[in-house]
């Protein structure tokens, strides 16, 4: 929320989020839609999100992802209480797990394969994280660029930009008085277009998944609603556009969707609390009146 103060002391406050917050939010939501483990978020990472979303999701995003592994000393596989959100290359930390342990495979029967053998036996709580989660879903338009990707890697790049719509030009204006401050409240809809560029061998299927999740899964709508964002459910089909780059065709699929952001802006300005009226005649002050505001 941005507030601008003017020289006369009045101020304009807006709930509108900026493009960096929008892209950070879509990075998080896209990751979740693709089944990427997007936790834990550091304090610095939380601060990149729209404030309302950050506040609502803080506890969830800061919490590490944990499950119980039944370890056997010297063995690299262990049954897990749950394999939800577990996939290869995640880091695993906990009692009985050696430093640098990673998940190498998640098999049937809730069996998890680890890169290093366990050092103790018995059920232990393990904490999982995906150090590549922000690499799996990236944000475009970085000031000095960013590293590229492997042709075999499934990555996604999100970009957000505000767009012009007729509906966005209509405003609902309400005036109210708070004490002696007049508050002009303006509510309008700002439209955004979010672009996803999916690369990798599964790019087309991942684009389909995001398109479906946007309109069918309520938890993502709820997540976006905390920042005042609502998806326009008329979403074009993903477009498959492989790129010829350096002698190879790189798989790529593009998707975009429009969102409406509810923006509320308040302009606060002072009003006249009272006016003193002094009526003078040749003989002196005739009358003094005070006009009091509501």
């Amino acid at each position: 929320m941005a507030t601008i103060t003017y020289p006369d002391g009045t101020s304009l406050t807006s709930t509108a989020i900026d493009e960096r917050q929008a892209q950070s939010m879509m990075q998080l939501v896209t990751g979740r839609m693709l089944g990427v483990l997007m936790t834990p978020y550091s304090a610095a990472a939380l601060a990149t999100l729209p404030p309302a979303l950050s506040a609502v999701e803080a506890a969830t995003l800061a919490a590490p992802w944990q499950t119980t592994l039944t370890l056997t000393a010297g063995q690299s596989s262990a049954p897990a209480a749950s394999t939800a959100l577990l996939y290869p290359n995640q880091t695993a930390v906990g009692t009985g797990l050696q430093a640098g342990t990673r998940v190498t495979a998640v098999g049937p029967g809730n069996l998890v394969w680890l890169s290093l053998p366990a050092t103790v036996s018995g059920p232990q709580t393990a904490t999982f994280a995906d150090p590549d989660c922000f690499s799996a879903v990236r944000v475009g338009w970085q000031q000095e660029g960013q590293p590229a990707w492997n042709i075999a890697a499934d990555i996604c790049v999100v970009r957000c930009e505000p767009i012009d719509t007729d509906y966005g030009r209509m405003r609902d204006s309400v005036q109210s008085l708070q004490g002696i401050t007049a508050v002009f409240t303006d509510t309008y809809t700002r439209a955004w277009r979010v672009y996803w560029a999916f690369y990798g061998p599964n790019s087309t299927d991942r684009a389909r998944a995001v398109r479906s999740a946007l309109v069918t899964i309520q938890q993502f709508a709820d997540l976006l609603a905390t920042a005042g964002w609502y998806v326009n459910p008329s979403i074009s089909m993903p477009q498959r556009v492989p790129e010829l780059f350096q002698g190879q065709w790189w798989p790529r699929t593009d998707l975009y969707a429009d969102f409406n952001e509810q923006v509320t802006e308040t302009y606060a300005t002072g009003t006249v609390e009272q006016v003193q009226v002094i009526v003078n005649r040749a003989t002196g002050v005739y009358e003094t009146l005070t006009i009091q505001g509501d």
């Binding site: 950070s24 610095a44 970085q142 660029g145 960013q146 990707w149 075999a152």
Partner: protein
């Protein structure tokens, strides 16, 4: 047939001069790519790749320009990130690198971002073209 080693030309005592290379490392974080960098001493022949042109646009004046930097040590462009499950950070054919986005070279009060590299390690040098970043 032997190869010509140009190290003495690139870093001999006639034309070369010092510069500083800002070498980046970094990570993908929430919101995008975050770069941190360390300074590495560079030494080699520096010459002009593209003159400094003044662009006059309604918004103001901007100065372009590019320089060529020669070095015995490798100069890096943005390296491919192994990324999601891929371990081979910046292999690139010249051994594993530890940096991620292009070097920036500080020379005579200006920063130049490396946009092109000619790899001649077989002849004892690297040649890089950097563009003037400040615009002023």
């Amino acid at each position: 047939m032997g190869q010509i080693n140009l190290t003495r030309v690139v870093a001999g005592n006639m034309l070369p001069e010092p510069y500083t290379v800002e070498r980046s490392t970094g990570a993908f974080v929430a919101g995008g790519w975050q770069t941190t960098s360390i300074n590495v001493a560079g030494y080699g022949v520096v010459s002009v790749a593209d003159k400094q042109d003044l662009q006059m646009v309604p918004e103001g004046d901007r100065v372009t320009g590019a320089m060529v930097f020669h070095s015995q040590q490798r100069i890096y462009e943005t390296q491919q990130d192994g990324g999601y499950g891929q371990p081979e950070y910046g292999a690139g054919g010249f051994g594993v690198a530890t940096q991620f986005v292009s070097d920036k070279i500080a020379w005579r009060g200006q920063l130049y971002r490396v946009l092109a590299v000619s790899p001649y390690p077989n002849r004892g040098y690297w040649r890089a073209v950097g563009v003037r970043m400040s615009g002023q």
